[in-house]
Each structure stands twice: as structure tokens, then as C-alpha cells.
């Protein structure tokens, strides 16, 4: 079931990235382009680069997938991903650029004069990058699985090798151009198929969502059940089965069609069932929401209604505040020449992201109506990839699947390269204290670890994993940045206490959630949306410990706050250099 369109898409994106990446330096030989080459990057280009680096597998595949599975409440993730930049814009963008910090450990050390704090911050950079890289790997695995039909590990290894190779060989030179190119690619790759689908589906009847007719397979569809599943059939249907249903083996050649009678059937793991076009789709006996639940505006954790309001607030806290603390995003802001342009760039980022997130929401809705088979195979994360195939045939299908596969691959490439560069930078600069060679070694090592770990996270929701990375960032770096920029009484010990306590408890909660602890009631909320308690905890720890330890106040706090807040033009020469 190799899909040539998708192969072309993935290969084209990789090649285009390599070309843009290696030729991303501005070269001039004549007088006129000397000035062009020496000109600062305009805000629009930089904003597209930031958005490009930001829109990861979670945005491209995860939001639509999770919204399809867990209901429109999951769109809070999309809202938060975009709104995080609003917080960034209002609170930290300009001051941080004026301060000149290149990374968060830079800021921690520069603002609080503490090498110890720098080390702890570096540790959290690694933790956050790790949590964030895993879903990218998973996304690549899933995408290539859908596109080429191979095993899951192929995609993980391909992405790991491509990204690690590009960075370790120093091939990613013009990173600003690469990332902005990939933003536009992703936008086109998700918007165009969504528009085409809306057109092709002839304004699909909303009855499927509002609750009258059962979902229908528009075309002949084969559903592969990865695990043992119970399905409820409402209308008798003749299907072709490969595998086990209700304990009976079906592997006759040539395949004979079998009638599934109304009622509950148990399908064995690894079974595939082919449904004819126009048949009503069965529903899994567990895990699929009723339409009423699906339309609930609050977040349903894993599709179940566990204190939905608390879960929603948890995600809002994590995503609104987490964007501040993402290690690979801050680095991009450095390309702005001053605080004012940093602010303008952020405003454009908010707009670009808002333009993007319309489409996953639309695709989730279309997926619920048109791709009921994904509920059966529990592969809702692939909805963006699968929809174009269900809807259109022929050349159109090829083009659209090339587009979505290419766009998805661009999403993994850009985000994971940004994250891997941040990881390798932190490792080589702060831990190995080495130069270019150490950077390459770190990139290789980190790439290897992440690839292996990526094989292990198969089956988790991409979006939930990314949400966890945001939760750790929101509970560690967000309080450090906000209080560091806006509060003169923050002390070294206060910052250290908040960072360790907030970041540590969030990481602990996330790890226990991954290990499968606490799946019901309040404990589930506390471990699965940890931001709801770890963010206030981190802020409280920073404030209380700072007030208790006025003696560990860093020197020249006012000078540093001046460097953060005074516009460059008003500042005395050199003051910006902490």
C-alpha cells in the first residue's frame, strides 16, 4: 500500500530543506547587495521562522487527531499553543531581547549571577527538549507507516538519522530561511487539503455530529485493528475478514465475505476487516464519545469526563505559560535587532499561528464525519494523513497526500532540528564546555537517545506528549522568566527553589503519567495535567523563598532591570551588557 504521492512529498520536502539550509547564507559580491546582505532580518521573515519552528507534529497531526478522538474540548490545546505567544508578547519578548540573553540558562545566570542556577536551567532544557522530541519521533513513525505501510520504527529511524545527520554535519546553516520556508509549506499543506475536502464532501451533513444517522464509510475501507477491540454493529453488513472475529479464524483464500450481524463482536489484535462503500460504520464498545460528549467544550482526558473543568484549566495554564519556556523558541528571538522588533515579530507570530490552527479544527470535524474507521483502529492521530485518500481519487489524491505527508514531515523536521540544536547546544556549551566538535558529538548522542526513546512511546497521543513538555516548561522556566523580568526581589535561592520544585514535580507527574499511574478521579488530573498545581507551586516557592532569603539577592538588580526594560535608545551606552 505504498503511496507514491506521499513518498514524493517526503523526499521533496527533505531535498528542499537541504537546499534552503545549505544556501541560507547571504552572499554578496557587488556594492549593492553588500547592504542587502548586511541588513537585519525583517520581522515578517523572522516571525515565519519562529512559527515554522514552533508548529510541530502536535500541531500538524496531533490537534486534529486528539480533537477527533476526545472531542472539540481538545481544541483548547490549539488555542493555548497560539495564545502562549500572546503571553510571550505581553510579558517577556521585548525585555528578553533587550537583555541579550541567547538561551534560558544565559538569562538565569545573567539575571541572578548564579552558575549553579545555570546548571539547573540547563538540566531542565534537556528535560523539556526530551519530552518534546519524543512526540516528533512518534509522529514520524506514524506518518511513514501510513504513507509507506512499513513498520512503525522505520519513520522514527528515518527522522532520527536525517535530523541528527544534518545537524552533526553542520549542514543547517541558514536556519532562519529553512524554518520560514517550512512554515509556509506547513500552512499550505494543511489548508489546501482541508479546503479541497470541504469542496469534495459537498458540505457534509452535520447529522453525523449532531446525532441522528450513524457514520458511514463513504468508500470501501479496510480497517486494521492494532489491538483487541470490541465493536458494536447496528446494521448487518457483509465484510471480508483477515484474522479473528469472535474467536473464529478467518483466513480463507480467496477471501470469502462474512456477514456481521447486529450486536457486539470481539475482534482480535492484528485483524483487518474490509467494509464496502456506503456501509454504516460500527463503533468500538469503549473509547468513542457520543456526539453530545464530543461537542462538550471542556477537555475530556483520554475521552473520559474526569473533572473536565480542572483538566481544561490545567491545559490552559500549561500551554499559555509553557510557550515562554521552550528552549528552541527563545533562540530565534535573538535574530531580532532590538526589543521593539522582537515585540513586532511576536505579534506577527500570533497572527500566523492563528491562521494555521483553523485548519486542524476543521479536519477534526471532517474526520469525525468521514473517517469512522480510525476510531476502530485507534489511529485518530493519522486523520490529517488519511482524509485526503478517503475523499478524492486519482491525481487529486496523489497531490493531496504528497502535500500532507510533505507538510507533516516538514513539521517533524523543523521542530526536531530546532530542539536537537538546543539540546546539543546546552550539552556542549554548559556540560562539556567544548566547541564545534563537542557540539557535533552532543548532537549525535542526543539524536541516538531520542531515536531509541521514540521507539518506546508508540501509541501515546502526540498532543498529550507535547502538552507535557509544555507543562514542564510552564512550571520551571515560566516563573523564572516572569519573576526574573518583573520582580526586583527575586533571589538566587528563590529562583533555584522554584525551578527545582516546580520543574521537578511537573517532570515527576509526567513520568508517572507515562508509567500509567493514576487513571481515575483527582489523581488522574494531578498527574496528567500537572500544570494546574505545579505552576502555582513554582511561583509560590520562588516568591516565598525569595522573601525569606533577601541575602542571596544578586548584585546590581536595578542595573539589570534597566537593561531589561529601558528601550535601547534611552539607555546609556553599554548598559545593556550585563
Amino acid at each position: 500500500m505504498t503511496d507514491t504521492g506521499a513518498v514524493v512529498g517526503v523526499v521533496a520536502v527533505s531535498l528542499a530543506t537541504a537546499v534552503v539550509g545549505s544556501r541560507g547564507l547571504r552572499v554578496s559580491r557587488t556594492r549593492d547587495d553588500f547592504l542587502v546582505a548586511a541588513r537585519q532580518v525583517p520581522s515578517g521573515l523572522n516571525a515565519a521562522a519562529i512559527s515554522g519552528e514552533y508548529l510541530s507534529a502536535a500541531s500538524f497531526l496531533g490537534v486534529a487527531g486528539l480533537a477527533m478522538a476526545d472531542g472539540v474540548g481538545a481544541l483548547w490545546y490549539a488555542v493555548g499553543y497560539a495564545a502562549g505567544y500572546l503571553v510571550l508578547l505581553a510579558v517577556v519578548a521585548a525585555p528578553l531581547r533587550r537583555f541579550g540573553a541567547y538561551t534560558i540558562p544565559d538569562f538565569a545566570e545573567g539575571r541572578l549571577d548564579s552558575p549553579m542556577l545555570r546548571k539547573v536551567a540547563t538540566g531542565f532544557v534537556l528535560v523539556i527538549c526530551g519530552f518534546y522530541l519524543l512526540p516528533q519521533m512518534e509522529g514520524a513513525g506514524v506518518t511513514l507507516q501510513v504513507a509507506f505501510g512499513g513498520p512503525y520504527w522505520v519513520g522514527v529511524v528515518v527522522l532520527g538519522v536525517v535530523v541528527t545527520g544534518a545537524i552533526a554535519s553542520g549542514g543547517m546553516k541558514g536556519i532562519t530561511f529553512v524554518q520560514s520556508f517550512e512554515f509556509w509549506l506547513k500552512l499550505v499543506a494543511i489548508a489546501l487539503p482541508a479546503l479541497a475536502l470541504v469542496a469534495v464532501f459537498h458540505h457534509p451533513s452535520l447529522d453525523a455530529v449532531t446525532g441522528k444517522a450513524p457514520a458511514v464509510f463513504e468508500r470501501a475501507t479496510t480497517v486494521r485493528f492494532a489491538e483487541q477491540t470490541g465493536i458494536r454493529v447496528t446494521v448487518p453488513v457483509r465484510v471480508v475478514i483477515h484474522g479473528y472475529v469472535d474467536g473464529t479464524a478467518h483466513d480463507a483464500t480467496p477471501p470469502a465475505s462474512v456477514e456481521l450481524t447486529p450486536g457486539v463482536h470481539h475482534v482480535g489484535a492484528g485483524t483487518s476487516i474490509s467494509f464496502p462503500a456506503g456501509s454504516a460504520a460500527p463503533t468500538p464498545t469503549s473509547g468513542v464519545l457520543t456526539n453530545r460528549q464530543w461537542l462538550s467544550p471542556l477537555l475530556l482526558l483520554g475521552g473520559r469526563s474526569i473533572h473536565p473543568l480542572a483538566a481544561t484549566y490545567g491545559i490552559i495554564l500549561a500551554t499559555f505559560l509553557g510557550a515562554l519556556g521552550l528552549p528552541h523558541i527563545l533562540v530565534r528571538f535573538y535574530t531580532n535587532p532590538d526589543g521593539q522588533t522582537a515585540r513586532r515579530t511576536t505579534a506577527i507570530v500570533v497572527m500566523l499561528l492563528s491562521c494555521f490552527y483553523v485548519w486542524p479544527a476543521l479536519l477534526a470535524l471532517l474526520g469525525r464525519i468521514e473517517a469512522p474507521g480510525l476510531y476502530l483502529s485507534k489511529a485518530t492521530d493519522t486523520v490529517v494523513l488519511v482524509l485526503p485518500r478517503l475523499a478524492v481519487g486519482g491525481v487529486g489524491e496523489r497531490i493531496l497526500s504528497a502535500l500532507v505527508a510533505g507538510g507533516a514531515f516538514a513539521a517533524f523536521l523543523s521542530t526536531s532540528s530546532g530542539l536537537l540544536i538546543a539540546t546539543a547546544g546546552a550539552l556542549s556549551h554548559d556540560i562539556l564546555a567544548g566547541g564545534v566538535k563537542a557540539f557535533r558529538l552532543s548532537a549525535l548522542g542526543a539524536g541516538l537517545v531520542v531515536t531509541v526513546a521514540g521507539l518506546a512511546v508508540r501509541g501515546s497521543s502526540i498532543n498529550v506528549l507535547v502538552g507535557w513538555a509544555f507543562a514542564v516548561a510552564a512550571s520551571s522556566f515560566c516563573p523564572l522568566l516572569i519573576l526574573g523580568i518583573w520582580w526586583s526581589r527575586l533571589t538566587r535561592r528563590g529562583a533555584l527553589a522554584g525551578l527545582l520544585l516546580g520543574g521537578g514535580s511537573a517532570s515527576g507527574a509526567v513520568i508517572s503519567a507515562m508509567a500509567g499511574a493514576a487513571t481515575t478521579g483527582w489523581p488522574a488530573i494531578l498527574v496528567q495535567v500537572p500544570a494546574i498545581w505545579t505552576v502555582p507551586l513554582a511561583f509560590a516557592a520562588m516568591i516565598v523563598v525569595s522573601l525569606l532569603t533577601p541575602r542571596s539577592l544578586p548584585s546590581d538588580v536595578m542595573g539589570k532591570l534597566r537593561a531589561l526594560h529601558l528601550p535601547e535608545a534611552l539607555r546609556q551606552p553599554g548598559l545593556s551588557d550585563p
Binding site: 548586511a38 540544536i421 521537578g504
Partner: protein
């Protein structure tokens, strides 16, 4: 289950951090150690303020810690103009204290103050009728006086006060030292600005002159460039600028050199846009390019220069390469050591090292006939450059 483990770990962590923050001093065992710890940590709180010199604002910030060091009701510091700051007591309007300060400064040695000297309403009203006044000296010169007042003056107070005054004096001397070092650095920069070489001025003007009749428009443009170049070079602008600005100056400079060399001077610029915002000390790039023109291209009469600025994680790598005459390595070494007539490179090297540390000086690769490559790296962020505490960063304070 795991949830409880995590919660327990979080609570334990909170307790540990709290304990560390609150009880660190009390872990010291003997009273002597504890005493030293407390005295030194209070003194260290006063030090940063004192290091910025003898201003009312700085002394005011330092007086709180100094008073807890002395453990008296009030502390006052004055100079020849009278009282400049006080802590614990209201002394601004007390002329008698101003007189006491002046008399201590005149005598240059500690003086015990009695009720007569302290008959201000505020002091007398609180029963603070004894005090000790000691002079503050910087470089053997009395610059002010420190006065401690209390209801009774135990015999040891005079000696304690003397020690505190010595500590304050030392810090003020260090402040003075910082200031003179800053002046030296600034003088060096001004010197570099005045270093637009007569050689260059002569060449540029000759080149412009050659166009006056044949191509008056070009001559006019060149004159504008020349004016702009001199303005930028002489202007007392910020100590720091960004790489984009430096490249602009290089462009103007090369425009003038192109007028002279015509098509015999080729220039290639290769820049990663990410590094254009990197902050560098001003006037570091142009002298390096000028060096390439003068010692590389000029002897050969033709050649090309390649200027590169690329991103390398936490630093930007900048290099200027020419395919000109090249120089003997020993001459380069002596030029960098400041022992030859070519001051430009030496000065740039010095300032880069002073700003970013010894790892960031100029690296020169050259041999006779093989061209020259001068490169250096600039960190994107500098939290505490080795000598910035006294050098460039604090120039700002002026």
C-alpha cells in the same frame, strides 16, 4: 501508588530547599565561626554599594549593613560639604554634625563626640548623646568621616568603628581604581578613533580628486562617503554596536578603497542573518579589513577580500580573508604584541580580550605569499566576561 511517591518526593524536596535556604548559617558549629560568618556576610552586603564610589545614593545603600555591623543606634557619613547620608537617625538638618565631620577631616584621626557635639533636637531627644567619629581615607587623603552615635559609647566602639572605617576606605579605594581603569580603557578607544590613518586619508582624497574632472558625480558620492566615514569613526557613540552596523562602516570604507583600486579589488561578503544582531565593541571589524587592504592587497596591487560571519551556536564566527601578499608570522606576533607601527590589530585584539576574555582574541593565519586570514569569535551572550566587571560593561555607569 507512583502518584504518592511523586507527591512525597515533591514535599521532601520543598522541605529540603526550605531548610537549605533558612538554616544554612546555623549549620556552622562554633560561635566564633558563626560570628565571622555574620560579620563578613553583612560587610559583603555593603561592599557592592561602596564599590560605586562616594555618592550620597551609594553610601545611603551601604549604611544599613554598616549600622548592623556596628550595632549602634545611628550611623552618619559626611564629607567636606556636611552630612551626606545617615541611617537610624535623622541627621540631614543637624549643623553640629556637619561641623563634627569637618573637624574630624581636618584632624585626620578618630574623635570621641560628647553631648555638646550632638545637641541636635532629634539626637538629644532620643538620648543619643555619645558618639565616635573616624576619618575615611582614600590614597592617604581624607575624603570623609564616619560617625556612630548611641546612648553610651563602650570603650571598644572606637576600635570597632576604626576597623569599619578601614573597610569602607578600602572599598572606596577599589572604586577609585575601577574608575581609573575605566578611564584608561576609554582613552584607548578614543586613541583608536583618532587612528584613522593619515595614509588612508591621503589615499582616499587622492582617489576622490582623480574623479573630480572625469566623473564629478562619483566624486561627490565619494566625498559624502568619506564624510560619513569620518563622522562614524570620530563620533563618541556607544562602546558597543551590533555586527550589522560594523558591516555598514566596512561598506563605506570599502567604497572609498574601491575608488582607488577599481576592479582590482574584489570583495565577497557572506553573512548568516542570525548573527547580525550580535553585539560587538565598536570599531573592531573595520580595522581588520583595513589591515587586509593595506598589508595584503596594496603590496600586490590587486586581490580580493572575503568577509564572513557565520553562526556557531552560542557564538558568532567572524573572519576576514585576503589573497594578498601575506606577512611573516614573526611580524604578526610583534604587531599583536603592540610592538610595531601597526596599531590597529593590536588594539582590536586587546579590546576583544578585555571584553570577552582571552579565548576571544584575534587568530591570524598567514605566511608570505599565501594571503592572510584574521578571525575571531564573539559570544552571543556574555553574563560575566572575565574583566567586564571593571572594563567595558561598567563604562556605562559613567
Amino acid at each position: 501508588m507512583i502518584l504518592w511517591v511523586v507527591l512525597a518526593a515533591a514535599v521532601a524536596g520543598l522541605a529540603g530547599v526550605g531548610a537549605y535556604a533558612l538554616w544554612a548559617p546555623r549549620r556552622l558549629v562554633t560561635p566564633g565561626q558563626r560570628g565571622s560568618y555574620e560579620a563578613l556576610s553583612i560587610a559583603n552586603q555593603a561592599a557592592p554599594a561602596l564599590r560605586s564610589g562616594m555618592s550620597a545614593e551609594a553610601i545611603g545603600r551601604a549604611l544599613g549593613p554598616l549600622r548592623s555591623l556596628l550595632a549602634t543606634s545611628g550611623v552618619i557619613v559626611g564629607d567636606e560639604t556636611g552630612v551626606i547620608a545617615s541611617d537610624g537617625v535623622e541627621a540631614k538638618n543637624c549643623d553640629l554634625l556637619g561641623a563634627a565631620v569637618r573637624s574630624v577631616m581636618d584632624q585626620g584621626r578618630p574623635v570621641l563626640l560628647s553631648g555638646d557635639d550632638l545637641r541636635c533636637d532629634h539626637l538629644a531627644g532620643r538620648g543619643l548623646n555619645t558618639g565616635v567619629a573616624v576619618p575615611l581615607q582614600v590614597d592617604q587623603k581624607v575624603v570623609g568621616a564616619l560617625i556612630a552615635v548611641d546612648s553610651s559609647a563602650p570603650p571598644g566602639l572606637l576600635r570597632l568603628c576604626g576597623e569599619v572605617a578601614k573597610f569602607v576606605s578600602t572599598q572606596l579605594e577599589l572604586a577609585e581604581l575601577d574608575l581609573s581603569r575605566r578611564r584608561a580603557v576609554q582613552a584607548e578607544l578614543q586613541f583608536l578613533r583618532a587612528q584613522i590613518s593619515p595614509h588612508f586619508v591621503y589615499n582616499a582624497l587622492t582617489a576622490i580628486e582623480s574623479f573630480v574632472r572625469t566623473d564629478p558625480d562619483r566624486a561627490r558620492e565619494l566625498l559624502v562617503s568619506f564624510a560619513e566615514f569620518t563622522r562614524y569613526s570620530f563620533a563618541s557613540h556607544a562602546q558597543y554596536t551590533n555586527l550589522a552596523e560594523e558591516l555598514r562602516l566596512v561598506d563605506i570604507y570599502l567604497e572609498l578603497e574601491r575608488a582607488r583600486f577599481g576592479s582590482k579589488l574584489g570583495v565577497t561578503l557572506k553573512v548568516a542573518p542570525e548573527v547580525l544582531s550580535v553585539r560587538v565593541p565598536s570599531l573592531v571589524l573595520q580595522p581588520v579589513v583595513e589591515n587586509a587592504v593595506r598589508h595584503g592587497i596594496e603590496p600586490k596591487g590587486a586581490g580580493s577580500i572575503k568577509i564572513e560571519a557565520v553562526d556557531s551556536g552560542a557564538a558568532a564566527l567572524i573572519s576576514v580573508e585576503d589573497d594578498g601578499a601575506g606577512v611573516d608570522a614573526r611580524r604578526v606576533a610583534s604587531a599583536l604584541a603592540g610592538k610595531s607601527a601597526s596599531v590597529g590589530l593590536h588594539n582590536v585584539d586587546e579590546r576583544l580580550r578585555a571584553t570577552f576574555g582571552d579565548g576571544h582574541g584575534l587568530v591570524i593565519e598567514t605566511a608570505p605569499g599565501a594571503g592572510t586570514k584574521v578571525s575571531f569569535s564573539v559570544p552571543k551572550f556574555r553574563s560575566h566576561a572575565p574583566r567586564s566587571g571593571s572594563g567595558y560593561a561598567k563604562l556605562a555607569a559613567q
